[in-house]
């Protein structure tokens, strides 16, 4: 379990430090796949229908459907692949490290029934890293990836309550995420058609024409 949690944080670092978009999406897919294994590990049994359903649902949506959608919008908007972050990549990596250290150093309560002391800090770190990605990147696609990372953190936090959560709620959240990414893909296309690129900072200069 700790292996997967560590792997998830390391993949987030890769996303923070990556210089091109396509590897970024692939790494996000790997992260989703790692995340989908966790419910089975948390329950400790492979045959349990609840955790199996969670595994297949999460894997299908996070590791297959969302990357496909992202790649599609990447192809359709025909954008340059470089990241162009507002903060340099060194700095965003260092900030990421700082965020992780901070979220690990708070004495967070270990929830009853959770399986590893790492889960809660990791979830917090993921949420904060997702925010960091959202704030420091200019392209709409990378912001979607930041949103995904953030959501993964929330999912991870939900893992600590996995035994109490009904499967329908989990599936509903997952479908919401899928629809969210879908809508964001359409948005990216629209932004792209109007502005010829998907730099979201330009949206700030929108005004009504007279």
């Amino acid at each position: 379990m700790e292996w997967f949690l560590t792997g998830i944080i390391v993949t987030t670092f890769f996303i923070l430090g990556a210089s091109r978009l396509a590897p970024c999406i692939r790494i996000a897919a790997v992260q989703g796949a790692m995340l989908s294994v966790l419910p089975i590990l948390a329950r400790g049994s492979v045959t349990d229908p609840h955790s199996l359903g969670m595994f297949f649902g999460t894997f299908l949506i996070k590791a297959i459907l969302i990357p496909i959608l992202l790649f599609r919008s990447l192809r359709q908007s025909k954008i340059r692949e470089e990241m162009e972050p507002t903060v340099s990549r060194h700095l965003s990596l260092l900030a990421g490290g700082l965020v992780v250290v901070l979220s690990f150093s708070w004495q967070l309560p270990n929830l009853p029934g959770s399986h590893s002391p790492l889960i809660v800090p990791t979830a917090l770190a993921m949420v904060l890293l997702g925010f960091l990605l959202l704030v420091t990147r200019r392209k709409a696609v990378t912001q979607v990836i930041g949103f995904l990372v953030l959501e993964n953190g929330v999912f991870l936090f939900g893992m600590t309550l996995a035994t109490e959560f009904p499967i329908t709620v989990e599936m509903g959240v997952l479908l919401d995420l899928l629809v969210g990414v879908f809508v964001m893909g359409i948005m990216i296309n629209h932004i792209n058609r109007t502005f010829d690129h998907i730099d979201t900072t330009l949206l700030a200069s929108l005004r009504e024409t007279e």
């Binding site: 700790e2 390391v10 430090g17 990549r89 990596l93 490290g97 992780v100 250290v101 790492l118």
Partner: protein, 299 residues
């Protein structure tokens, strides 16, 4: 005793192993395994030429470098225990290696050649980044084993925690530090002779004869030391029998050399501007390793 024999005689051999691996992967025959020994012998028989603008520093540096690498090697438990050990010796270990870098840089500046100054500035800036990660890694190790002596750290009281993700992260961190410190391929190319791109090689342009031999020998010793140190993280030194320990050490360092050869054949040299990012990532990874260790212990 075997410790001393190993550290004095074997290091150049592993440079041969790396060269042979690279040659094999490139489809060449490659130099013989003991080529570095022949080079050293040839260089030791030559005379030295000193630049007129250089001072005593240039003459002092090779001896200082070899001496400090040798004394830092006495602190690392290659076999069961290190010949010299005391609480907190990992700080001395790190600073002796820092002294090596300091002397190299100082001697390079001493000559007054602009190329060597450039190399020195690069070495200093990379060194500033690797040393942070190196110290953080050492801190993580001592937090893991609750001891501040390298010998005690590599004893792994209560079993070697192989199934600990933090250890793998530290292994990756120290591997990258190994490549950086010894100017291996993705960071610096040890075989290049294009002054604009080299880091370590440009700093030793002004040495000749026995001095160059000492520098070369010191570099191979440092590489051996780092390989032994890094591989000891995942495969700790065995305690059973001193001869078996020695054989095991040779085996794992040979493995590391082959791995370095593989990495060097598969990767091109990184652009100089990309290197700091890699090192920053390395530093962050070390910080993550430390965080995992601390939270995993429930401190």
């Amino acid at each position: 005793m075997l410790h001393l024999v190993l550290i004095v005689t074997t290091p150049p051999f592993f440079l041969g192993v790396i060269a042979k691996t690279k040659a094999f992967l490139a489809g060449r025959k490659g130099p013989p395994l003991l080529q570095i020994y022949y080079d050293l012998l040839r260089l030791f028989r030559k005379g030295t030429v000193y630049s007129r603008s250089s001072s005593i520093l240039l003459r002092l540096a090779p001896v200082m470098i070899v001496a400090s690498i040798f004394s830092s090697s006495l602190l690392v438990p290659l076999l069961k225990t290190a010949p010299i050990r005391f609480e907190g010796d990992l700080i001395l270990f790190a600073y002796l290696l820092g002294l090596v870098r300091f002397m190299t840089i100082l001697a390079a500046m001493d000559v007054g050649s602009s190329f060597e100054g450039m190399g020195a500035s690069r070495e200093a800036s990379l060194g500033a980044l690797t040393e942070l990660a190196f110290f953080l890694g050492l801190v993580a190790l001592s937090a893991m084993t609750r001891s501040t002596s390298l010998t005690a750290i590599f004893e792994w009281e209560g079993g070697h925690p192989f199934w600990n993700p933090a250890l793998l992260i530290l292994f990756a961190t120290f591997s990258l530090i190994l490549l950086t410190e010894n100017s291996r391929m993705p960071i610096d190319d040890p075989t290049t002779h294009l002054e604009l791109t080299m880091i370590h090689e440009v700093m030793i342009l002004d040495y000749s004869g026995p001095d160059l031999a000492l520098i070369l020998y010191g570099a191979s010793m440092k590489l051996f030391l780092f390989m032994a140190f890094t591989s000891s993280l995942l495969w700790p030194p065995t305690t059973a029998n001193i001869w078996m320990g020695g054989g095991w050490l040779i085996l794992k360092v040979t493995g590391m050399s082959i791995a370095i050869g593989l990495i060097e054949s598969a990767n091109a040299r990184l652009r100089l501007i990309k290197i700091p990012q890699l090192l920053v990532a390395n530093f962050v990874a070390a910080a993550l390793g430390l965080a995992i260790i601390l939270i995993g212990r429930g401190v």
